[in-house]
Structures are given as C-alpha cells and as structure tokens.
C-alpha cells in the first residue's frame, strides 16, 4: 500500500494527530518491567513477611537465603541484559561494526574471554560447586601436579611419594590451612567480584549520569552548587571513611558497596556534565530542540547515548578499583569475613606463604588477571566505541 501511494509530508494533517497518547514503551522497557516487578514482589515478601531465619526459597526447595546484595545483583543483571545486551542484538549492523573494531585489539579479546569466564563462573558456578568447607584434616593440600613436604599435611588426600604429598584433582588448586578448597573459593569469589562490579557500576552510572545532566541543564547557581558538591565527594578519602564506619558501626559487603559507590560517582558526574555541555553546542541538538523535543528527550535519546562510550569506558576502569579495595580490606582482616572473596583467600594464606604459596598465588593471580582484563577492555572500548573514529573509518 505504502508503495502504491506513498504518504507525503505535506499532506499530513497535524490537527488530526492527537497530541495526547500513551507513552509507548520499547520492548526493552517492557521486558525490564516484566522481570523487575516480580523480583520486587519477592524482595518485599522476603523482607516484610518471611521471618529472618527462613531462607527465602525454602517454600520452593533450595535453601538459598537471598540477601539484599543478591536482590540488587539480580536487578543490575536484568538492567544489563535489557539495556546493554538486548540492544546489541536489536542492531546487528552496529554490533558487527563494534565487534570488527574491537577485534583488532587482541589482548582485549582475550580479556573479554577471561571476563566472560569470571561472569559465567560467578553466576552459575555456585550452583554446581558447593561453597568451600572447613576440614582441618585435609589442610595444606598442594595443587594438582605439585607436592608439599609431608610434615605440613596432616592427611594427604593424594599419594605420598618420597615424603612429598602430591596434589590431586579433588583439590585442583590445593586447600588452605583450614582445608578449604582453593578452586571452590575462587569460583565463589567470582560471584562476589561480579556483585561488587555490577552493583557499584549501576549505582555510579545512575547517580553520575543524573547528577551530571541535571547540573548541565540547570546551569547557574544550581550547577555551581552541584559541582561544588562533586568537588567535596571527590576530595573524600573513601578508604579512610570506610575504615571509620567499619570501626564505629561494623560493615559487611553491602555497606562496602554502598560506601565505595557513594564516593565514586563524582568523576562520572563531572564527565557527563562537560559532555552534555559540549554536546548541547552541537548542531544536531539544536535541530532537535527546534523540532520541539523536550529536554528529557534530548538527554535520553542524544546526550546519554553519545556520552555512553566514554561512560562505559570510565566504569570499566572503576571496577578494578573496587575489587582491589575489597581485596585490600580483606587482606588487612577488615573485610566482610562471612563472604568467600578472593581477598579473604589471599589473607588466609599469608602466614603460610613460605611453604604453601598457592593459597596466596592462585587467588592473587586471578585477581591480577581480572583487573588486567578490565583495563585492557576499557582501553579497547575507548577505541571501538569512539564515534569520531567511526566517521573516519567506515
């Protein structure tokens, strides 16, 4: 039909087109709502109705007590799926282009692979590998292919050859002094790392982008005040403040995430503000405003997408900082001792370093590789998502 009698712009009867209409939701938002609402209901049910000791999912089977951090984690995963992964599928041409650009940076591809392992391991690992359990008798088991002097080990799981206890596949990366399996510890540590990464990133991005755009578009006094506030946030010695809070009130993983995210968005806000200001000078923004588009629409459809590449890069480079901070605190013995994080493992093996280095080295290397991977990824994303480079190359 459209081909027979193409509609022409000068025949549109604008009076007829109703101005009041339903806000039409994109498929992404529909999906997000459809999944986030049930999650919210479960969370409310857990929080308000179930008593504290009953694991959330007991009525349906598994004895998994979903905590606040877990709810947040699932929520951020949904955001990630609907607003980052799904759009990549919706726009295959663009995705292919990004991938082509990204592929040129080989270390980054390897990094992405490693992070995918950590991601999948962190989400599904705990369902297949049970949490490491204390078993004093099987402490200091060496990793597979390695051996340790028999005298250090009370019970050797593997063979003893010439007074040396050999490692076994039962504990591929050995065990700690308390007999906890290092490999299982690392897999469960991935979950913690992913939780830290995803939740902080979401908080930082939400607060930073909102603050930055509001500041840029409000201008004048409001802008001045907001930016001075950012100055203060940025001058805060976060680690020290966390130590103080920890000292006075005590703090778990949730508090850690909250405090560190609460002081990390300053840079993002500053960046988004300056980007919004420079973008609003661009002619396509003027053209858009002249079309009658609202400020919200301009920000949502043009400013944020155009700032996204740099924001994503910046966030990618923030995550390693959080992981490092958690590991540092755990190492000092100040972390949340109830969680099996990599830092806890490193700290557990510290005193036995001279004869059982694997307890420190294995999680240490995993931590190192993860931080390295995030850095390579950030670097490659900066190049791949750069719209100017796009204009030149394609």
């Amino acid at each position: 039909m459209a081909t027979q009698k193409p509609e022409r712009f000068d025949q549109v009867d604008w009076a007829e087109i109703s101005r009041s209409r339903w806000f039409d939701l994109s498929i992404n938002s529909i999906g997000m709502l459809a999944t986030a609402l049930p999650l919210l209901i479960v969370a409310l049910y857990d929080w308000q109705i179930l008593d504290e000791r009953t694991p959330t999912l007991e009525p349906v089977g598994p004895a998994w007590d979903v905590g606040t951090v877990d709810y947040l984690f699932i929520f951020t995963l949904l955001l990630f799926a609907f607003y980052i992964v799904l759009p990549l599928f919706q726009n295959p041409r663009r995705t292919k282009y990004y991938w082509r650009e990204f592929k040129r940076n080989r270390p980054a591809v390897v990094s992405l692979g490693w992070l995918a392992v950590v991601f999948v391991g962190g989400i599904f690992g705990p369902f297949f590998i049970s949490a490491p359990e204390q078993s004093i008798l099987t402490g200091y088991q060496p990793p597979v292919f390695l051996s340790v002097e028999q005298s250090y080990v009370s019970t050797c799981v593997g063979d003893i050859v010439g007074g040396q206890c050999q490692g076994t596949w039962q504990h591929p990366l050995g065990t700690t002094a308390g007999g906890k399996d290092v490999f299982a510890g690392i897999v469960h540590g991935m979950t913690i790392s992913m939780q830290i990464g995803f939740i902080t990133t979401t908080i930082v991005a939400t607060v930073g982008i909102t603050f930055g755009t509001v500041s840029a578009y409000a201008g004048g006094w409001v802008d001045e005040l907001m930016m001075r506030f950012v100055d203060i946030v940025l001058s805060f010695p976060t680690l020290l403040m966390f130590l103080l809070i920890l000292y006075i009130y005590g703090a778990g993983l949730g508090m850690f995430i909250l405090v560190f995210a609460a002081f990390a968005w300053g840079g993002t806000a500053r960046y988004v503000r300056s980007k919004s200001l420079s973008i609003s000078e661009e002619e396509f923004i003027k053209a858009n405003r002249i079309s009658g588009a609202s400020t919200y629409r301009v920000v949502r459809r043009h400013v944020v997408p155009n700032a996204a590449s740099s924001i994503i890069t910046q966030l990618t480079l923030l995550i390693p900082g959080f992981l490092l901070a958690e590991a540092q605190l755990a190492f000092l013995g100040l972390g949340d001792s109830t969680i099996p994080s990599w830092g806890q493992l490193i700290s557990a093996g510290r005193s036995d370093l001279s004869f059982a280095p694997w307890i420190v080295l294995a999680p240490g290397m995993v931590l190192f590789l993860t931080i390295l991977a995030f850095n390579f990824l950030g670097d490659a994303l900066l190049d791949a998502l750069n719209p100017e480079a796009e204009a030149e190359n394609a």
Binding site: S235, P237, L244, Q328, F331, F368
Partner: protein, 324 residues
C-alpha cells in the same frame, strides 16, 4: 581577578572542604555509642556498681553530656589547633604518634613520588612517539602490569623472593638504620619499586594518550615547517602541552594510591609509618588515634587537590582566573 585572588579563593575553598569533611567525621563519631562509655558501664556492672551511673559519669568525664553544638565547636576548635588528644594505645599525644609515623612514611613516599613524576611522563611521551612499535607495546605492557597487579600482592611476592628466599632485604623493616644509609636504601627499594610500578602505569597512559593528540596537532606541523628538529619538537612542543592535562590527574592518582597503598605497603613490609599507625589504632580500638589519622589523611587529600588546581592554572595559559 589576579592570580593572588584566585589562589586565595582556592585556599579558602580548600578550607571549606576540610571543614565539611571534618564535620561529617564528627557526626559519624558522635552518632555512634562511645566504646569507652560502654566499657565503663560494663566495668561497673562487673564490679557490682550501677552501670547506668557509671556510664553517666564516663559521659560527663568526656564532656558527652554537653549539647551537640557545644561538642561540635569544641571538636572543631581542637582539630584546627592540632589538639588531637591522647593516644591510649601508644601512650603519647596523637599528633606526636602521627609525626613519628610520617617520618617513616616520608622516607619511601618522597623517592616514590619523585620517581613517578619524572619517569611517568617521559615514558608516556616516548611511547607515543613510537606509537604501535614494539617499544610502545613494551611500555604499555609494563604500564598495564603495574596498574593491574595489586600492590600488596606484588609486595608479598617480592618479599617472598627477596626477603625469604634470597635474603637480600630484611623481612620486617629495620628502624634502627640511619635514614641516609645504604642499608635503608636497600630495604626501602622494594616498597618504592612496588609503588612506582603501581603509579607509573596510570601516569604513563594519560601522558601517552594526551601527547599522541599533541604530536598530531597543527602546531607540530608549524614547528616542523620552521625547521625544528624532532627531539626539540617533542621536548618543547609536545611535552609542555601534555603537562597541562596530566597535572589534573597526576596529583589525584598519586593521592589515591597514597591513601590506599601506604596502609597496605606499610603493613606488608612492616614499616611503622602513618598507615601502620592507622591500622594499629583500628586494631587497638584507639579512637583518638584513628580519628587523628583519618583527619591527617583528609588534610593531605585536601592539600593535594588544592595543589592540583593551582598547578593546572599555572601550566595552562588559556585559563583565566575569572573562570571559577
């Protein structure tokens, strides 16, 4: 507005920031139950006295029965007059304890900062000048390695290698040696190395990316057209503008590392510096000392940010002091 007025404005602002952070610290502390009051109450209960009365007395003794604003004024006054109280665990004034810590912290911080500031930008510009060659990749690889490896982890490994296996450095820092002695240099070399590797990466990346932009700038073409030699072009025309954006991240990156890593590095290597003082205060539940070191780090951070601002305006002739 002249430079003088600009500096005054920035210094005043730094004062405001420090005041705000101090206030938040005060609020954090005053909102929590005081451990010494609880202790007194427990003590009284154990000895058969009235815990409530004992708590009241302890509170009175520490001036906690005063209204909040009076306590606040007292607190602020003592903070800014450096009357930071008595360290229970170390049996000496807090300022003295911090001073002693600072003495050791400075011994590795000064060489670390100097080396980072000197080497970082040079390697960055060199890397940009040889962009995409093996030299660039090697420098980038090193930068990433230093950036990514957690300082404390790196420290432990080096300590294991050089302290435990090779025995060239003492496993625990020896405070008896003179500051300017070969022995001190040897035992500080590993912590300084660890910190420099950690900090140089970020600086190098920034200076590489910024100078890459400047070496393709139009004015480099002008310089070339004037007959300027490549070395002079890099030394004058690339290095100088690179320092401007670098100055905005340099201090910040060093500070972040200082606040985080000094604690870790001192704990790992057993250096009795200000970071370790903080750590011990935390372990020993020494509120005054912990508060003191928090404030000390805060002031260092505020002064660092102030310096960063000032250096930036000095370096960039295009910034007019009217702007902010």
């Amino acid at each position: 507005m002249g430079f003088g007025r600009y500096v005054t404005a920035r210094v005043l602002w730094a004062g405001v920031v420090s005041l705000i952070i101090t206030t938040i610290t005060f609020l954090l502390v005053s909102a929590a139950p005081n451990p010494s009051v609880q202790e007194a109450a427990t003590q009284a209960a154990l000895q058969g006295g009235d815990p409530a009365e004992a708590a009241e007395r302890a509170r009175e003794l520490r001036g906690l029965d005063q209204p909040l604003y009076v306590r606040y004024m007292d607190f602020i006054e003592s903070v800014y007059t450096f009357d930071w109280g008595w360290s229970r665990s170390r049996s000496q004034p807090v300022t003295e304890a911090l001073g002693q810590g600072l003495y050791y912290t400075a011994q590795y911080s000064v060489p670390w900062t100097v080396l980072t500031v000197l080497i970082g930008p040079l390697v960055g510009v060199y890397s940009a000048a040889n962009m995409y060659s093996w030299k660039d990749h090697a420098a980038t690889g090193f930068a990433f390695f230093g950036y990514a490896i957690p300082n404390f982890f790196f420290g432990i490994i080096l300590l294991l290698i050089f302290g435990v296996w090779l025995e060239v450095i003492p496993v625990v820092y020896n405070t008896d040696v003179a500051v300017f002695s070969a022995q001190n240099a040897v035992q500080l070399s590993i912590p300084v190395f660890v910190l420099v590797t950690g900090s140089i990466g970020g600086i190098m990346r920034v200076s590489r990316n910024e100078s890459a932009e400047f070496q393709n700038a139009e004015f480099m073409k002008t310089a070339k057209a004037k007959g300027v030699s490549p070395i002079r072009a890099y030394a004058y025309h690339v290095m100088r503008p690179t320092l401007v954006p670098l100055s905005t991240t340099l201090v910040g990156q060093l500070l972040a590392l200082f606040l985080g890593s000094s604690l870790l590095v001192e704990v790992v290597f057993g250096i009795p510096g200000i970071g370790r003082v903080t750590y011990n205060a935390l372990i020993a539940q020494d509120t005054n000392l912990l508060l003191g070191s928090t404030l000390a780090f805060t002031f260092i951070a505020v002064i660092g940010n102030l310096l960063e601002d000032l250096v930036f305006t000095v370096l960039d002739p295009r910034i007019s002091y009217d702007d902010r």
